[in-house]
Symmetry: C2
Subunit: 232 residues, 2 copies
């Protein structure tokens, strides 16, 4: 059932979709893994696809106002762990991703996006004038979002990538644990993000659940759909 990866970045490649039942299976199977098996590695092909899930994640305007810091260095993980409520996932998982977002959006960010878009789509910047103006008015001149709200808006975009990553991982039978219990200031210092345009927002550990992680066997707690979904 393997298909070659789409050879170019476009949206018209025919798909091999999964069944609705298989999707639900994967989402049921997922849980916030508390104990990872430190001895198991994610196969390279699988991890590459998960990195691509980060790269391909949707963001408002397609702005990609983020950076993903992938931490494999064991000493650095040891340093981060005490700033993460001493959670074992930080050191025991196979891949540790810090999701970072722009502290602010500047005209140069928009110019970079317009330039990249023109290159990839064979357009002249004038053809993207409406799009460029819209972004400038909203993000740089703050017609819609006040300046103070930009960082929070970026934070929300970052969480789209987090949701994308965890869902993609579950489909590939890779366990994850999203982690908000950490000190962003300490992370920024240890990761060298201090004084840069990026700040850390959330962390996600990925790998394989330990066979004795008792949380894997607990019933998933969700409110019934009738309470969460309103129909109009």
């Amino acid at each position: 059932m393997q298909r070659p990866v789409a050879s170019s970045l476009n949206c018209i490649t025919p798909l091999m979709a999964i069944s609705p039942a298989a999707l639900q299976d994967a989402l049921h199977w997922r849980y916030a893994t508390k104990a990872f098996d430190p001895g198991r590695s994610i196969p390279a092909e699988t991890w590459t696809a998960l990195e691509q899930s980060l790269v391909l994640s949707p963001s408002s305007y397609g702005l990609q106002p983020w950076k993903f810091v992938l931490i494999r260095n064991p000493e650095l993980r040891q340093q981060l762990r005490p700033h993460s409520w001493d959670q074992s996932q930080i050191t025991d998982c196979c891949e540790l991703v810090v999701f970072a977002g722009r502290r602010d959006i500047e005209q140069a960010d928009l110019d970079r996006l317009i330039e990249t878009t023109c290159q990839m789509r064979g357009l002249a910047p004038e053809q993207l004038g409406f799009y460029a103006d819209l972004m400038r008015r909203n993000l740089v001149e703050h017609e819609q979002l006040p300046a103070s709200a930009i960082a929070e808006w970026v934070g929300r975009q970052v969480y789209i990538a987090l949701g994308t990553f965890m869902t993609a991982a579950a489909l590939l039978e890779i366990d994850t644990c999203p982690i908000e219990g950490f000190d962003p200031a300490a992370y920024d210092r240890l990761l060298g993000l201090e004084g840069t345009p990026y700040r850390s927002w959330v962390v996600c550990a990925a790998g394989y659940r330990a066979t004795d992680d008792k949380y894997a066997q607990l019933a998933k707690v969700r409110y019934p759909a009738e309470q969460l979904i309103e129909r109009r």
Copy 2:
């Protein structure tokens, strides 16, 4: 290749995973659909799985501080469209979901979660004391998050659900368009959320791309992985 849906909510169901290549195919295929085919409906089994992707979406503490308003009423959609930059997706898509989040977190929300957890896992509330205290200190007594930051924190959780939903949809070959270009106050008024504990954060249209949506054929614009992923 169809499997029965997991019969109970747990995390140990064996999975039928997809291949890394198929995942990447789906993520390449996805794009923010500008023109939906108003004549095509999502099959019931597929839509049920997508509703479940909302219900099963991860959230911090498993708190589920959200509500998903599903709008099928054509008159209501017509009323919402002028408050959504007159975007055609609002009226032409098959399913329109407004992602709403709690304005604040109260002790009663935590009590409800603890009670539900005890019921589903056969526990006594005392056994969840650590978890209950942690949530209370952080979300109600504001040891970690100031009161003013709670709504924004909820907003980020809501965006996890948005990322989960769009990724799940792409895997099922369902098109989506995330929409931030709308007036949340007008939505809250028209949806009856005004004066309730919930506010609208983001909208997502779902359905099938129109065969003449020219955006489907544009190259996807992404920065190279080397620029988005830092390795430590």
